[in-house]
């Protein structure tokens, strides 16, 4: 069967058409935001009125929205619709401080599914495909986000969820899975287990396309995973504050991720001065949602560092392309697709009487698997007792796992043995192969 190359006509808009649509949607969004107690007060406090937004450049009159704003207004304070109009919420995992909550109306869910479907269609997914989602479900948006998008494309969609690698592989062979969504380190792990079981992905499966993202990875890692599984792997970008997956996605060119500018207005700013950086330079990604009903966010600081790739994409889409994420403008760690702040780890560690105050978080790549090692300095207690030392490191590991949702490797080290720099302890060392 032959299909159109494009899923939505909006993909083919010219720059001027995109910008006209953006202005129209921005003005409507700002007006709609006056139903939000948070934005209403924010506009009032600086004497700004929705009618002051006459051009796209006027966007810069609006103050930034931050993660802290989401926390301060937890759970529903930014919403621009009454709660009874909402049908879903997603929330961040952290238990340190308030989590962030994003509300969705039915229209929001439909628009989100459409964006994900557009992305999947762009990398060649069609109704004949079998899509297996190895992402965590529940509150994590990579689960339901891809589920609805893949179903919208019309694919047979397998909500395999995370983990149980043997079962994942059995599904590949039994169901004829052609497209998989997984974080890069898990894709490598799947291959490892296939090798152990004597399964050749090229011979024994129909895998063709891999959708990756949520975890920083290098071009080399992508190439390696493609060679392992005999697939094409496409990078993606999303975040729960912007719905989840479907914000930006690579096309068949595999050169930068098209960000859907009929959904989002993109700014790249210097994280210190908050002024726009020159076109093509790296800065912090700031996004304004212009296609959302329950909870539009104006000039949301994502804290992700990236740049706009210059030039036209041969694929014919004029939605600009984001480069691979280059890091963060805060201290957030992204490990296996999970967002972790060092303060979450510190809070847990400080509850252990047996530990001194210094610790070191090391992120490393071991056998294609990203791992977190937490070195903790002990006070001189229990040194003669292995049972107690082992029980201690087990308990630390368990509590950290409950907080950050990945299992770190905890190492007990003697007091004063961790490196310090200029009096201030170095807390995070990232040795992973990425960017």
């Amino acid at each position: 069967m032959s299909y159109s190359k494009f899923y939505n006509p909006e993909e083919c808009l010219s720059r001027s058409e995109i910008e006209a649509l953006q202005l129209e949607r921005l003005q409507a969004t700002v007006k709609h935001c006056m139903n939000s107690p948070f934005y209403k007060e924010r506009f009032r406090s600086i004497g700004l009125s929705p009618s002051d937004i006459r051009t796209l450049d006027d966007l810069r009159k609006i103050p930034f929205t931050t993660k802290q704003d989401l926390r301060d207004t937890y759970p529903f304070g930014i919403a621009s619709v009454p709660l009874e109009k909402c049908v879903r919420l997603h929330s961040s995992s952290g238990t340190t401080g308030n989590p962030t909550v994003i509300l969705h109306t039915q229209k929001d869910l439909d628009q989100w599914a459409n964006a994900v479907a557009r992305c999947l269609w762009m990398v060649g997914c069609r109704p004949e495909d079998v899509f297996q989602n190895s992402s965590g479900y529940g509150m994590f948006t990579g689960g339901l986000g891809f589920q609805y998008g893949a179903e919208k494309v019309g694919m047979l969609t397998v909500p395999a969820a995370a983990g149980n690698t043997l079962r994942q592989i059995k599904f590949f062979t039994d169901f004829g899975t052609t497209v998989v969504h997984a974080i890069p380190s898990y894709a490598a792990r799947i291959y490892e287990v296939m090798c152990e079981k004597g399964i050749d992905p090229r011979r024994d499966t129909k895998l063709r396309t891999l959708v990756i993202g949520a975890e920083p990875h290098s071009e080399d890692t992508r190439k390696r995973i493609e060679n392992m599984l005999g697939v094409k792997a496409y990078n993606s970008f999303g975040m729960s504050e912007m719905c989840g997956p479907g914000v930006a996605f690579e096309c068949l060119e595999q050169n930068g991720m098209h960000i859907w500018e009929d959904y989002y207005i993109v700014e790249i700013v210097d994280p210190d001065t908050l002024e726009p950086v020159p076109e093509g330079e790296v800065g912090e990604l700031v996004l304004t949602t212009i296609n959302r009903e329950a909870m539009p966010l104006l000039r949301y600081r994502t804290r992700d560092l990236t740049r706009i790739l210059p030039g036209e994409c041969p694929c014919g889409r004029h939605h600009r392309r984001l480069d691979r994420m280059k890091g963060r403008s805060d201290d957030m760690i992204i490990l296996k697709g999970v967002n972790i702040f060092p303060i979450q780890i510190e809070t847990i560690l400080m509850q252990f009487q047996e530990l001194a105050s210094d610790y070191l978080i090391t992120l490393d790549t071991q056998e294609d698997n990203d791992v977190m090692i937490v070195d903790v300095e002990m006070k001189d207690l229990h040194i003669d007792d292995y049972t107690k030392l082992q029980a201690l490191s087990r308990e630390i590991t368990r509590q950290l796992r409950d907080e950050i949702l990945v299992t770190p490797k905890v190492r007990l080290v003697p007091k004063n043995s961790l490196p310090k720099s200029e009096g201030k302890a170095v807390r995070v060392k990232d040795l992973r192969k990425k960017y």
Binding site: D380, L381, H382, I383, D384, L412, V413, P414, N416
Partner: protein, 142 residues
């Protein structure tokens, strides 16, 4: 009825054990016995030495993670089966040995051990007339 043992936390890194031994050497403290058990990431080095209290201070001041513990030292005749007899007594009383090591000193066998119940272990030692080595005797044997 116990002797002092140094327990030193040794990271699984080259040079950490040497550092400890050198510190003792500089202070002219003599090792009588030592043992290391290890896990993947760290080990505990247990040391019986002359002047354990001074050794403890020296290591502590040098920033070594060390603790001073009390362990039992039982003297045995250097003949087959003596260790078995001694351990059997404890096992019969339901006392678990947390760890144990042994060495020969001047023709006498010495068993060093720690149990999960020091008080009861002391009672058993007295009741069964096991020959205890005291700290001052230990250095005399050198």
């Amino acid at each position: 009825m116990t002797v002092h043992q140094l327990s030193v936390f040794i990271e699984n890194k080259s040079g950490t054990l040497v550092k400890v031994l050198k510190l003792l050497k500089q202070e002219d403290i003599q090792l009588i016995a030592s043992t290391i058990a290890d896990t993947a990431d760290y080990g505990i080095c247990r040391i019986i030495c002359s002047e354990p209290e001074r050794a403890y201070t020296v290591l502590k001041e040098a920033g070594v993670a060390v603790s001073l513990c009390e362990v039992f030292a039982v003297e045995l005749d250097d003949r087959p089966g003596k260790a078995a007899d001694a351990i059997e007594i404890f096992a019969g009383e339901g006392i678990s040995i947390a760890y144990l090591y042994s060495f020969l000193l001047n023709g006498k066998g010495v068993l060093i051990f720690r149990t999960d119940n020091s008080e009861k272990a002391a009672e058993i030692i007295s009741a069964n007339d096991l020959k205890i080595i005291r700290e001052k005797d230990l250095s005399k044997l050198l």
